[in-house]
Symmetry: C2
Amino acid sequence: MRYPKGIKKNYQNNTSHGNRGMVLEHDLNDTNQYYLETKRAVIHKKPTPITINKVNYPSRLEAVITEAHFKTPSTTDYNGVYRAKYIDFEAKETRNTKYFPIANIHIHQQKHLKNIIECGGIGFIIVRFTNLNETFLLKGEDLFQFLNTSTRKSIPIEYFRKKGYLIHIKYAPRLDYLKIIDDLYFKGDK
Amino acid sequence: MRYPKGIKKNYQNNTSHGNRGMVLEHDLNDTNQYYLETKRAVIHKKPTPITINKVNYPSRLEAVITEAHFKTPSTTDYNGVYRAKYIDFEAKETRNTKYFPIANIHIHQQKHLKNIIECGGIGFIIVRFTNLNETFLLKGEDLFQFLNTSTRKSIPIEYFRKKGYLIHIKYAPRLDYLKIIDDLYFKGDK
């Protein structure tokens, strides 16, 4: 994958202030790049939302941000178009082997996914249990079913195994999640 | 419109290093907020893409970006879902009264709009001629027709008047561009 000049990849996509989420994110960026090049879908990760406080202009053409802060995201990280439909998802990794802590999906992002589905869009989450090497796609509808019927602060892995769909890791595309979307939302279409 | 605490609006959405584009952007943000609250559509402006070079951690909970640069955007600024379809557009203002300089839409953004349309999405641009107080929606297809058949570096306002659709300014929603999308892409649907 080629990155534009000057991008320091480790920082570029790092919203979680550490290495958390980086491997899954890299797999998804590769996958989305593959989808783009094969004209299958146009799905991008949104830039990290920040609040800019100070900008310096050392020259007429150059602007340097000298003070900014990370913002709590109001939407999910990934969205785009597939087979004319709107696709929207959030992706998270956890080292936990039994549970996915719901706090990983901000309340604003949950609300956003709900709005998406109400408007006819396809909304889901992708969760990787790093230490088990299992990556699941869970439909937004099934996420909300859990949230609406449980008071637990985390989703057991059994719920993902029962309601979610395992995404197998391949060479290219790395994480072919659109194959699952085909089965779930375009069944019967050619 | 309510902004989250601490956001300095003038910087927040300002990718053009000045006041250019700010009024139209404000109108569109208000409109999109209205669409969201009335559950008509979920359309957001993407965060300004930046490259982060340095981050300080004055405390365990706080991260301050101390050096970052604006990046050339690889996608358009606005996207979302309307009637299950994927919507994508770029919005620009010009003080010019006769022409819209094509350089206002980066080549990457043009390519992005083309990809969107090829994947079945709805792609367009919104251009405001500030000094004439005329705001047009121009379909991506008509933008590309111009680019493919002309060597000019700007689009005459006549082209917008002939091929584009005038968006009237109202109270709420401020700029009801989805009304035009209804006519253009959902004709005959209820």
